[in-house]
């Protein structure tokens, strides 16, 4: 546990000193511009449009930053040979992977919290009211970002950082469309297609189980049981990804 915390603290420090939090400033500037533009075209629906657009932006920014930083985390340690120093000390490979993930998760919590709070403020300024569900949605988007980070770290243990980042983003996009994949099985045209669809549906994280935007803008009533179940599923999925990453990384020699 000590080793995991030490690596997590070091990773947090590394990412903060890499000025990742500047993303929040970029996001804030983007939101101000978008707010002015949406106000000019939305005919009284500014608040709703702002919330909808803002959630997509939070998710997009979060995933892109999380994936690209996660893709280089493990590779950089191997490439710069700092692993020699780490693994000659009482630090297990699993502790290392968990520590790298936890450190980046800490940084991304600040990034996501900053963006969610700013979105809430902008939505409130534009329409005079903002749904408190925005902040709940922010937490759930954070969980999705964590899952995509874990997937990317897993890929980065056996591929290059660029490929790991591309695969991570592919998994995120596929996860958003996973309900469509499942609907293919209902067509029943081919057993092979059905089998493949189920396989993809099971392998790719399901990011479309809860429609966050619909809840935030008031089109759908929140189903707490579904949200809690989905959250549990995402946590289980990311733990599984980190376990696979550890298994692969244990076989590595330096």
């Amino acid at each position: 546990m000590n080793g995991t915390l030490a690596v997590a603290g070091n990773t947090f420090r590394e990412t903060i000193r890499d000025r990742i939090l500047l993303v929040v400033v970029l996001f804030a500037l983007g939101m101000i511009v978008a707010g002015v533009w949406l106000a000019s075209i939305s005919l009284g629906q500014q608040g709703r449009l702002m919330e909808d657009f803002g959630l997509v932006a939070v998710s997009g920014f979060g995933v892109i930053v999380g994936v690209f930083v996660a893709a280089g985390l493990v590779h950089k340690e191997v490439d710069k040979r700092t692993v020699f120093v780490l693994f000659s000390k009482p630090l297990g490979r699993g502790q290392f992977i968990a520590g790298k993930f936890a450190g980046l998760a800490g940084t991304m919590s600040l990034v996501l919290a900053g963006m969610a709070v700013f979105l809430f403020l902008v939505a409130w300024l534009v329409s005079g009211a903002a749904s408190g569900w925005l902040l709940v949605a922010g937490v759930l988007i954070y969980l999705q970002v964590l899952v995509v980070m874990a997937v990317t770290i897993m890929f980065s243990t056996f591929t290059s950082p660029i490929l790991a980042a591309v695969l991570g983003i592919c998994v995120f996009v596929a996860g958003q469309l996973s309900h469509n994949v499942l609907s293919l099985t209902r067509l029943g045209h081919s057993a092979v297609l059905d089998g493949l669809s189920w396989l993809v549906y099971l392998l790719v994280p399901n990011f479309s189980a809860v429609n966050l935007s619909a809840v935030v803008v008031g089109e759908q009533r929140p189903d707490w049981a579904a949200i809690a179940g989905w959250g549990g599923y995402l946590v289980a999925y990311l733990i599984l990804m980190l376990a696979v990453a550890t298994l692969v990384f244990r076989r590595k020699e330096f």
Partner: protein, 307 residues
């Protein structure tokens, strides 16, 4: 792996040596033991009777598979090496001889293809390691790096802070401890590397090319540190190409070439005239083994000094 000792002194003189018969040794064994280890009568220097050697390597082989065509490259071809408890041992050899790979396998950074490595310490908590050409997190200050390394050993807060300050002081970086590592010179990085290797007060220290990149003053400081470690009864194994330093610091040496240990024994046996002839001796062993074809895969053998 168990935790490190709690002795706060980094290199306190007269530090009592724990009885190693009471500690389990750390052993790394290769998967393929079909090929027998070379018969070896390696006799370590000052290891007291009944105590296990600090490092015992038998028949160590390492084969890497490289490239698209999966070519097999034999890096180590049957290394037999014994380092006694409390020795300062120099591992010599030309580039590509297998010195660094031997250390990496001993430290568990690589898996052996065959053979065994046994370390007379109680886990990684009692080992210090300085890699060759070390790179450290350049966004950290020297002090932050040492704190981070100390946390990996789960040292209590008060002990950790004391060790960090002692280590900085010991390598002459007390004034530069607050500076980011990206602003360190190569010599300063080498010294902070030695400091991190000593942060856990190790009983067994591996230093891979510790003098590389150091100016004469830095080199002298590192030599004094190694001398002090030896005087405190710690076991030091280091690789170096600077033969005069090896002759000055080591009680025993091993000369590697082509993935085997060509010769090991006391420095005095290699250099009868007080260290003047180590270079000649080294060349004689390395060139002699090449001429005799000892570096071919079929005839790797270990020559022992008459002791």
């Amino acid at each position: 792996m168990t935790g490190p000792g709690t002795d706060p002194a980094l290199t306190g003189a007269g530090r009592p040596k724990p009885d190693r018969m009471e500690t389990a040794s750390q052993t790394i064994a290769g998967q393929n033991m079909a090929e027998p280890a070379h018969e070896s009568s390696t006799e370590a220097g000052p290891t007291p009777a009944g105590r296990p050697p600090a490092v015992a390597i038998h028949g160590l082989r390492k084969t890497l598979i490289t490239g698209f065509r999966r070519r097999r490259v034999e890096i180590l071809r049957g290394v037999d090496l014994t380092v006694g408890d409390g020795e300062v041992f120099g591992l010599l050899g030309p580039n590509g001889a297998g010195k660094t790979t031997t250390l990496k396998v001993a430290l568990g950074l690589m898996r052996p293809s065959a053979g065994s490595v046994s370390l007379g310490v109680d886990g990684a908590g009692e080992i210090g390691y300085l890699p060759e050409n070390p790179y450290f997190y350049d966004y950290l200050t020297g002090r932050e790096l040492l704190r981070f390394c100390a946390r990996l050993f789960a040292l209590p807060d008060d002990v950790r802070e004391e060790r960090v300050e002692r280590a900085l002081d010991q390598v002459g970086l007390a004034d530069a401890g607050g500076k980011q590592l990206r602003k360190y010179s190569k010599g300063m990085l080498q010294r902070i590397g030695i400091a991190q290797a000593l942060i856990n007060d190790p009983r067994l220290v591996f230093l891979d090319e510790p003098m590389t990149g150091l100016d004469p003053v830095g080199r002298l400081e590192v030599k004094r540190i190694i001398e002090q470690l030896g005087a405190d009864g710690r076991t030091v194994v280091f690789n170096s190409h600077i033969l005069s330093d090896v002759a000055e610091l080591c009680s025993r040496i091993g000369i590697m070439g082509g993935g085997v240990v060509l010769w090991q024994g006391k420095v005095s046996e290699a250099t009868p005239s007080h260290g003047d002839g180590l270079e000649d001796f080294f060349m004689e062993i390395v060139l002699g083994s090449e001429a005799a074809g000892e570096l071919s895969a079929s005839s790797c053998s270990t020559r022992e000094a008459d002791s």
